[in-house]
Amino acid sequence: MKYITTIDNQEYTVEILDDGVVTVNGKTYQVNFESIDGQPLYSLLVNGASYESMVYATEEAWEVLLRGYLYKATVEDEREKRLRVAAGGSQAQNAHFHLKAPMPGLVVAVPVSEGQEVKSGDVLVILESMKMQNELKSPQDGIVKRVRVQAGQSVERNQVMLSVHAPEA
């Protein structure tokens, strides 16, 4: 199976062969790869060199934490790559932004109200968690919609607190 893996705009063509062998940009490596205790924690031996890494699946990328450094990698197979390139590689613009709580916490303030126009960077919600306060800002211009929280309210992780719709939407 052949993949195109991209880290910091650097492309690696990684081919996984059957018998503990991979090639990277044509070079051949003996690999031995195991997950530890069912965790996203991996021991990798590459031509005898021993590495250990946590690999997190996030929505944008695979985050590879290796010896204190974080590498954000995207992995595509050849077909996906072709399709994306054929489509011009463009990234869709989100018309709606749904502000989710990054962690459980307490809503300290909601300085906007429904229907209000906001600019990118305006504060939408102030959330407190773990003795820290966080100003959550809008990533885009738009109109505030569906404010579902108020000051004093506890929220769960990933709970949608409000939305910002693109002006034209």
């Binding site: 993949y3 990684v14 590495y51 944008e60 590879v64 450094y69 989100n94 962690m103 100003e135």
Partner: protein, 503 residues
Amino acid sequence: MFTKVLIANRGEIAVRILRACRELGLQTVAVYSEPDRQALHVRYADQAYCIGPGASRDSYLRMDKILEVARKSGAQAIHPGYGFLAERADFAQACLDEGLAFIGPKPSAIAAMGDKIVARETVRKAGVPVVPGTEGEGGLNDDELLAIAPQIGFPLLVKATAGGGGKGMREVRSLEEMPALLRAARREAEAAFGDGNVYLEKLIEGARHIEIQVLADSFGNTIHLGERECSIQRRHQKLLEESPSPFVAGDDDLRRKMGQVAVRAAEAVGYVNAGTIEFLVDADKHFYFLEMNTRLQVEHPITELVTGVDIVHEQIRIARGRQLRWKQEDIQMRGWAIEARVNAEDPYNNFVPSTGKLNHILMPSGPGVRVDTGVFSGFEITPYYDSLIAKLIVWGETRAEAILRLRRALEEYRIMGVRTNIPFHQKLLDSHRFMAGQYDTRFVEERFSPQYSADRREEGEIAAILATLVAHSENLQASNIVRRGIRDTSNWKWLSRWERVHR
């Protein structure tokens, strides 16, 4: 003499104190909030009582409930740890009123050092240098402050009288920009503390934050245990401490002078038990009193490792009415100790706190390594408390050996289930300025930022193999690997700016 101690705290420090009590043959009583039912301090104590729900104000800050547990359990002494009620003179007094030994200083000393103006005045009179400023003058108005500012000299700091942790603080470089910054600082202070009063303080540039540990018994003996270097901070939160300080090491004269001054400051308030005098030290080795922490510090273990004095054992002995077992001349600093605070926060994402269930922990161990922690595999990191989950402390014969040892211990440490700041520490230890000991309190924010992989191209190939093998083996390619556009749940990341709340 008491034989049963209630620990009015949670987390690693409660565990630390419980261990000390066990090692001294004392009975222990834990208090806990509902989400802390399985916490180590509950499991390691002889007795444990629930004192309310998760929010600190409903549990760990509830003096009445804690005193009720003391009565119910038969505890004869209370150790407050740090944070929560540790620097509340009224709590210390309430313990005494109940006939309980308070393992800490007298209420009057807590009160004197808790009021910044009183503290400054008290130590100044005892001959302790303080940072030039207006703090002793009470609440001045803007016109008065603007008139005094040129006498102090620029740059200076506007600071909130009630404040702490950087809230209501502004740096002023000239008289012209001062009025606007004064207004901003007052507004922020008012919002944060309900008190808009501010004062001016000379800004010590290139300052180091160096503190002196003191121990005092109730017979009038006060000694110091040398210094701790605490300049590695981010937003006024210490992240890594070492003892000795690379800035003081080799200058026995400076250490002796700072130590004598620290002892004098403690004596000025009739201090008993363990305490810490914080100093700012400028590039010319002038040092200025900042404040006194009238309690056990988070970073006390590094002093323990270089002096051989178990500070918590000693706190308990002092509270039991014993004399100090050391004279000043008995205290020798031997080797080098470094502490890395391991926080549940993501260094690649603005240090945003991370919560969740810990699924797997592999703790570093072996020679010269100590871990003080309150967490374990299966424990849930909740949003109720601060993000400190472990202190990784190492000792080495030399600073170089300590750094190499801390590196290997950080690389060994595995905590699955939350993100931690371990990578921050790993990069810090790789930085040349840190290795050379050349840093001040602004080093982390101004000169050091965790980067992505750009500086480690050589391992990019390994990372690519890892990502590909994981993607391949999880068969999630179809749904997950295509690079997509902006995601809702991650949008907040680049916009977040977490500020620590000080209560």
